[in-house]
């Protein structure tokens, strides 16, 4: 269970998150949406302790991670898998070495067992046979899939996705959406997706949280959210620019 209490964060005096609170239950699938630069990725990084808040608290399974130092956080992070916007694959390693990284560091398995697990998870994400390729040889969509394989191979309880479909064409985006749903259902993981792609939010999120001007503007089930008549929500869902933004 993830609980965020009154979280605030600013950079260089500019507030990015202002008194944000919410709760995500085990096994739930939540989409966090909001405008570019609206603090979605900053919020996601707070959930796994990559950033420290100026005020407020983050609790993972009832345990506050805000006061933890980097070494204490390592224990909590074993519950998480994270897929980065740019995949963040280690470019000096092959796909297989990237995917096996967590297993090699934290589990005592034989090379044969590791190779078997890697082949299995690569098969799930549709990258069978790419074990020996370097990240530079992969397309954007393939890199995201490899990042997802690396995040789920050690079967974490929670998977965080940071803009998983940004920069991908609609067909590849569709395949990544389906993959996230498949991973959620197969591994029974809590899923948190940060996105500004409405189709991804609708498909993956059972609940939608919307950040607006640094605050939590909406927190409702997906069907309620997408049926909302609130002008701010509607404007975001329909992708309509303000008149003054149109002039820019």
């Amino acid at each position: 269970m993830i609980e965020v209490r009154n979280l605030s964060k600013s950079f260089g005096g500019h507030p990015v998150l202002d008194d944000v609170s919410f709760r995500i239950e085990n096994g739930e699938s939540v989409a966090i949406i909001g405008r570019s630069g609206g603090g979605k990725s900053v919020l996601l990084k707070h959930l796994i302790g990559l950033l420290q808040p100026d005020a407020g608290d983050v609790l993972i399974d009832g345990e506050s991670i805000v006061a933890m130092d980097e070494r204490q956080l390592l224990r909590v992070r074993r519950k998480f898998g994270m897929v980065f916007q740019g995949a963040a694959l280690f470019d000096s390693m092959t796909v297989a070495e990237n995917v096996a990284f967590g297993l090699r560091r934290h589990e005592h398995l034989t090379e044969a067992e590791i190779a078997g697990r890697v082949a299995g998870v690569l098969d799930v994400v549709g990258l069978a046979g790419t074990q020996d390729k370097k990240p530079a040889e992969l397309s954007g969509g393939m890199r995201k899939r490899a990042g997802l394989a690396r995040a789920v191979i050690y079967e974490p309880q929670i998977v965080l996705y940071d803009e998983p479909t940004t920069g991908l064409d609609p067909i590849v985006s569709d395949s990544i959406d389906k993959l996230m749903v498949q991973v959620r259902d197969r591994f029974k993981v809590t899923t948190v997706v940060v996105t500004h792609d409405m189709r991804t939010a609708q498909r993956v999120g059972q609940r939608v949280l919307m950040l607006h001007e640094g605050r939590m503007y909406a927190n409702s089930p997906a069907d309620v959210f997408f049926g909302s008549t609130d002008p701010v929500v509607r404007q975001f869902i329909d992708g309509v620019a303000d008149a003054k933004e149109f002039l820019i």
Binding site: R77, R78, F90, R150
Partner: protein
């Protein structure tokens, strides 16, 4: 205005020094708790040691040759030709070997470390390491510092041998000095303690190069400009730190080791 600029520079320098000290402390704690990535340590020893061979050998050999020639020119005036290699031996073991090797390795390896880790930082690979429950100090910093402290003494010994050998060759075959007296005088005036001084300096310089390179990479600014600046600063700061540390080490070693 000048006071503000100067105080800002001093404050930045002290902050960086403090960050380096904290990084060194974390790395030492990690090393003593055996959290090291051994496979990566071996690779780093190969990267620093084996791949620096040509740079170190050329530096060592030509420094020995130049120093031997210039010493001969001065000593020849007072008929002390056969003492040339003794001076070269002491100078190369105590100073030229460790310092020049460290400066060359700082240029090659310090820059590479800052660029590699800096690129990992700007492409979120270090954040990815952390999400995979791996401490960047255990995985990136400790193997590099340990490898620097293993490889640089070995490179320094190699550089010393090539420096003395090249100087001997120049003195005997180009300047016509008697080889037996030349060699015996070198052995008579170059002692074990000179080699110990050189190797112990190299051990410390190896740590400095890796520590500065890793620190600059881990704290580099965003984008290509940030990585570029970190790379340049890693080389400049490592070289300056080596030269300043060398003075204090020389002073300390003179007091401690020369009395033994």
């Amino acid at each position: 205005m000048f006071d503000f600029y100067a105080s800002k520079r001093i404050s930045t320098a002290l902050t960086e020094l403090g960050q380096c000290a904290l990084l060194a402390r974390d790395a030492a704690a990690s090393l003593f708790k055996w959290r090291v990535a051994w496979k990566d340590l071996l690779y780093q020893v190969y990267f620093i040691g084996v791949k620096s061979q040509s740079v170190v050998l050329i530096t060592g050999a030509f420094t020995g040759m130049v120093f031997g020639w210039q010493t001969y020119v001065q000593f020849h005036k007072v008929k002390m030709d056969t003492a040339t290699l003794a001076v070269v031996g002491v100078a190369v073991c105590d100073e030229l070997g460790p310092v020049l090797t460290a400066l060359m390795v700082a240029g090659r390896v310090g820059a590479a470390m800052a660029a590699e880790i800096g690129t990992m930082r700007v492409t979120e690979q270090i954040d990815a390491l952390r999400t995979l429950a791996t401490h960047p100090v255990d995985y990136l910093v400790v193997p590099r510092i340990a490898a620097g402290q293993i490889a640089l003494p070995l490179l320094t010994i190699e550089s010393i041998c090539f420096g003395i050998g090249a100087s001997f060759t120049v003195c005997v075959y180009l300047l016509g000095v008697d080889p037996s007296f030349l060699w015996n005088n070198m052995l008579r005036f170059t002692h074990d303690v000179d080699v110990v001084i050189g190797v112990s300096k190299a051990f410390i310089f190896g740590g400095i190069i890796a520590l500065v390179g890793c620190h600059k990479g881990l704290t580099c600014g965003l984008g290509a400009e940030g990585v570029g600046r970190a790379t340049t600063e890693a080389v400049v700061y490592a070289c300056i730190t080596i030269l300043i540390t060398d003075f204090f080490l020389t002073m300390l070693q003179s007091i401690l080791l020369r009395q033994l």
